[in-house]
Assembly symmetry: D2
Homo-oligomer: 247 residues x 4
């Protein structure tokens, strides 16, 4: 699946990423087993990470019954079923989160928006330092469509991730939109794109930058807890760190 | 200028940020000496950084004659004057870049867009590792308006910064938009906002997260140069690092 | 529910809007009977239209089981249930469509995006003239939140509507976002907003502009069918109108 | 310049558009005489309108010295020169306004944003009926780039136009962005795009819809002045129309 350059980069790496976990959440509107072009592009990133020892996992959100809402568990708010609480631990465990979405009418999918709403619902859960739940993690996105709108979707997804507490490394949106007007999709025969150097370079740089930053943050035990602790700000008193490890 | 909590955070910090430099670029449409509300909010961030030993600088772009265009020096493309080449070294020297913009009709200012175009013009200049010019730096933004649109402006500014090579730490957009409809601006008497806890918390968290990530990246000599070097990707050959320092 | 100015405008109108139908689709994430602040603001528009003889209807989308997807009927694509085909005739019958959405994280709701996807799925159904299905109708939107993002949501919703074939009259987005930071929502006691002149003026102008344009378009039998017929463009031959009524 | 279908549509039209005026404002960053790809696509729209008797005009904004700001004449606010007041009468005279912009980093150009700011500055000038200055006019946009972002730019431009008082007819954004990644621009040899059926259909439908709506609005003397008059709303008294012409 990887091209020659991507293979060489894996073979020649001198970094150890084996303590990292990555999660790809696919927000295609198409249920399994229909082909997801978004998955096709994401698989390149997952393959690179896997070759570097990163433990990877994928969730296809539309295959699950997720309720609408902005609370952690919507069965407590009148919905008969909600599989989100079962998926969230995967998000918690992952150092790297990649969100994938198709483009419809120049916009990310409704399933993508729903995921952001549910991630948002969890952000009030602070970590042991009193920082928001997603501090210390990194995020990126993968966009596919056959027309236009990849940057527009990325703007919103990456904004939401940083708002929730993720670090956004450089150039962590990779996409494919084909030529002007409707046309073949990423995995369709003749799309020419699994070989498109622009798209392959973007997905490669994205993947390495996600791994580099995730490794660095992990080596620092996350983002230093000073000046960004919701619990201490609200308490309004002493901000210096009680943990001798940090002195 | 700082409130009690902000002062306490500075006094109680155990981190050393004194090797960092920060630059604030204000894209207000109003020339000096008119009051810039965007500057008013940015000054809080600059004051926090200054108290932590960060060397800070501000540029009010509209006070300079900047040409339109996407080349490094527009005087080579028919414009009589262009002060951008004289400002760019400040951007190069800064570990932290904060972009400030007012909101007009729900959108960042034209001066803000112009700055992004000129930053973009420089991105082809690779660093010694063959990475894009802005790798290893962190970016954030400050938005003020009296109506609506802060998140919309942030989405675009932060997206552009990560696209150019900046790392985006968590929650690095701080803004103030007042209540529904037109009304007083940030520094206007009675706006109530220099005391607004929401705005002050956001600008505080933003500033500390920018400092933390900038310090971490500086301690790592930037983002590891592997999998993200434009020059090596284009050459298409050996990616492992020739510099013994990194082995 | 209407204030004095809004009542006076209804009483003094000299136009006849009684042949029009209007549909409000609410994309709140909250199921009935929870209070929807978006509905609260929309009710002002519906009341004005009702007083002018417009036949109005409301749908709260989250109370129905709508499948994800971009086909007219998703039960033909593996979904067990899909109530969209039963709702669509209301859209077809309406001269005026108003879309309402709350704001989460600066973005319209996932239910709102889902509705646009389903409207899009129907756009290939051409009218008798070979124009897209929504030609001759007008659209607007109502946005409520307690922070920021009304214009950002409107940009996308109104863009999508015009893309699908709707005419967008002037100033047809009305919203309410309260003061900086989280706070009371539109219908909450003390929000001050049912009396906010800015919001009430916007919803009033929106409503009248929707009625004026819908009436004008109806009086013209829609948008003249020349230069905008998908069927004739694809056939590529004779474009002049065969219908003697139009000569 | 027109293809066979476009020529046939002009030849077979039965509508009279000869009382209309259209203005195209090009916000390319490139000064004359550099080739503007945006102009290349706009010329198709202008040619169609010209063949239908519409009086057309073009302004290339970057060739003029326009000051930054949100006041009608910035020389009254400290700027040495401002040619906007000399251009504005062309906007006032035009029934149809088409705004053209290139895409940089997924966003409309800074010159485009500047134009919107200056249009906004004029919106407080009410017409004889007390409506905002741009009521009764129609607007559209033309976007060209070689990567991605056409819909994102259109969303903002069309939103701004409707906010200012323009009517937005269906499908009035036409663009060209080529295939994935950087590549040839619209007028470059081998871009294949002057022949791209998707782009040509869009620009054709846009042009006809702009003409149809402009003609209809002109035939109605603009948008009926009731429920949308700023002056009367602020005065808060009698809204019925004093002008016997309207009774």
């Amino acid at each position: 699946m990887l091209n020659e350059k991507q293979d060489a980069l894996c073979a020649q790496s001198e970094w150890d990423f084996s303590s990292l976990r990555a999660l790809f959440i696919n927000r295609t509107l198409k249920r399994s087993p229909a082909v997801s072009h978004t998955q096709g592009l994401a698989d390149v990133a997952l393959e690179i990470m896997g070759k570097n020892g990163v433990q990877t996992d994928s969730v296809r959100l539309v295959d699950h019954t997720i309720a609408f809402g902005v609370y952690p568990d919507m069965t407590e708010h009148g919905w008969p079923k909600d599989e989100w609480p079962a998926i969230y631990p995967k998000v918690q465990a992952a150092n790297v989160l990649i969100i994938g979405t198709p483009i419809w009418l120049g916009e990310k999918s409704s399933v993508c928006t729903m995921l952001i709403e549910r991630l948002y619902a969890m952000s009030a859960q602070l970590n042991d330092e009193g920082q928001y739940a997603y501090y210390g993690k990194v995020g990126g996105c993968i966009i596919t469509g056959n027309e236009d709108g990849a940057k527009h979707c990325s703007m919103n997804i990456l904004y939401s991730l940083q708002y929730l507490g993720y670090v956004i490394p450089p150039q962590v949106d990779a996409g494919w939109i084909g030529e002007a007007g409707p046309g073949p999709s990423y995995l369709d025969e003749g799309s020419g794109d699994p070989e498109n150097d622009f798209t392959q370079r973007n997905v490669t740089f994205m993947t390495w930058n996600l791994m580099h930053l995730a490794r660095i943050l992990r080596s620092q035990d996350g983002i230093p807890a000073h000046g960004n602790q919701r619990s201490k700000w609200d308490a309004g008193c002493r901000f210096n760190h009680p943990n001798p490890l940090y002195r």
